[in-house]
Amino acid sequence: MKNTPPETTPFFARDRDWHPPAFTPGYKTSVLRSPQRALISLEGTKSEITGPVFGHNILGEFDNDLIVNYAKPGEMALGERILVYGRVIDERGHGVPGALVEFWQANAGGRYRHKKETYLAPLDPNFGGFGRTITDENGGYAFKTIKPGPYPWPNGVNDWRPAHIHFSVFGHGFAQRLITQMYFEGDPMIWICPIVKTIPDENAIKGLIAALDMQNTIPHDMRAYKFDIVLRGRRSTFFENRKEGN
C-alpha cells in the first residue's frame, strides 16, 4: 500500500437534496421512522473526520466469493454467475484504499436467508447471501456472486424490489459511512420500486445502476457488472478558523 500521509481535513457537506429525504410516504416504513425536526449542522470535528481501519486479517479466503462461501464442499450456489467489481472513490475522484465493503443479497429466486423472510421462493442450500472485501491501493474491489432475483415485499399490495445487492461502505472518516444498493442495467423494475423512488433525483438513481461490462467478463464462466461507489470528499487544504474568532 502506498505510504501517503493520512488526511485530516473535514468532509464536504452532504448534499441532502441528492439523497432520499427521511420522510417518503411511498415507502411506508419511513413514515414512523423519519425524524421530523431539522438536523443540526455540525461541521467535522475530530469525532467525525476520524474513523477505524480494518485490516486484511479480518478477511477469510472466500469472503469475496458468494458462490462458494456458504456452499457445501464441491458445490456451488445456483443462479447467473456474475463478477461485481469497481472502485470506491471520493467526490474528488480519489481512490479510497483500505475501505471495508460489505454486501448482502437475496438468492437467485429472490429469497433471503433470514428467519423473518416469508417469501415462498425456496432457499438455496448452497447460498448464504453475504460477503465482504477491502479495497486495494487504488480503491478497487471485486467479488463473485450470483445475480439476485426480484421479489415481492409488503408495502403496496403489489410492490416488488428490483434485483439488487446491498452495500455497506467504510471510508476513512466516520462521516463517510454509507449504506446503499446496487441495481442492474436494463432492469424495468428499478423505475417502479418505492424504495428506489425515495431518491428524488433521476441522476442519483442512475448512479446506483451497475453497467453490464462485457470487457471484463470471464469467458465461459461469468459476466461482469461494474459498480463504482462514491464517498464524500474532503477539503484538500486545511485552513482553520481563527481560534478567537468563533
Binding site: A22, K46, G51, P52, F130, H166, G245
Partner: protein, 205 residues
C-alpha cells in the same frame, strides 16, 4: 469561461432494509460458519484497556413509541485520554487496546442494544476548546433512508457539558437532554427517539 470543477456526486443512500443483519452481523442473524465472529461484536475492552468500564444500553423508538427490533447501531469514540484510534488522529497515539468502533444489532425480541466500552476522554473542538466526553452514534434500519447521526454525552459531566461547543450552541435548550445518556452506576442509558415530543437531536455531520 472558467476552469471546470470536476467533482463526483456521493452515491445516493438507500435503506439498510430488513435484512441488514445478514450482511453485517450474520452470526447474530443465525448464519454461522462463514465469518468467525461478527465484526464489531462483543466487548470493546480487554484487560489492558485504559479507562472506566461502562455499558451503554438503550432502545430506538419510532413515532408510536414502539421499539425498533431490526436496527443496527454503530458507535465511534475516543479512548480514555481523548485520542481516536485512527490514522487521521494526529495529536497522539491512541490506546492500542481500544479500537473505538463497535456495531450492535438491537435484540430481535426486545430491540434493546448494549455496548460494553469505556468512558471516552475529552476531544478538542475545531477551535481548540474541549468537547465534553461523547460517543458518536450511527443508526440504520428498514425505513431509514439515510443513516442517522447523533451523539451521546454523559449525565455525570454537567460542568463539561455546560461549556461543550456543540451542546452550548443548541438554540432549543429543551432538546439538549435528548443527547445526554443517563448514568447510573456503570450503566449509561441512552434511548433514541426518531419522532415525537422527545425527538432526538440528529446531526448533519
Amino acid at each position: 469561461m472558467v476552469q471546470p470543477l470536476t467533482y463526483f456526486k456521493e452515491s445516493a443512500s438507500q435503506t439498510a432494509g430488513p435484512y441488514v443483519h445478514i450482511g453485517c452481523t450474520p452470526n447474530f442473524s443465525g448464519i454461522t460458519g462463514v465469518y468467525d465472529t461478527d465484526l464489531g461484536s462483543g466487548s470493546m475492552v480487554n484487560d489492558q484497556t485504559r479507562g472506566e468500564r461502562i455499558t451503554i444500553r438503550g432502545f430506538i423508538y419510532d413515532g408510536t413509541m414502539t421499539p425498533l427490533k431490526d436496527a443496527m447501531i454503530e458507535i465511534w469514540q475516543a479512548d480514555a485520554d481523548g485520542f481516536y484510534n485512527s490514522p487521521s488522529e494526529t495529536r497522539g497515539k491512541a490506546d492500542p487496546n481500544f479500537f473505538g468502533w463497535a456495531r450492535q444489532p438491537g435484540d430481535m425480541a426486545t430491540g434493546e442494544f448494549a455496548f460494553e466500552t469505556i468512558k471516552p476522554g475529552k476531544v478538542p473542538f475545531r477551535d481548540g476548546r474541549l468537547m465534553a466526553p461523547h460517543v458518536t452514534f450511527w443508526v440504520v434500519a428498514r425505513g431509514i433512508n439515510l443513516g442517522l447521526n447523533t451523539r451521546m454525552y454523559f449525565s455525570d459531566e454537567e460542568e463539561a457539558n455546560a461549556v461543550d461547543p456543540i451542546l452550548s450552541r443548541i438554540e432549543h435548550r429543551v432538546r439538549v437532554p435528548t443527547l445526554i445518556g443517563k448514568r447510573e452506576g456503570n450503566t449509561v442509558t441512552f434511548n433514541i427517539y426518531l419522532q415525537g415530543e422527545n425527538e432526538t437531536i440528529f446531526f448533519d455531520i
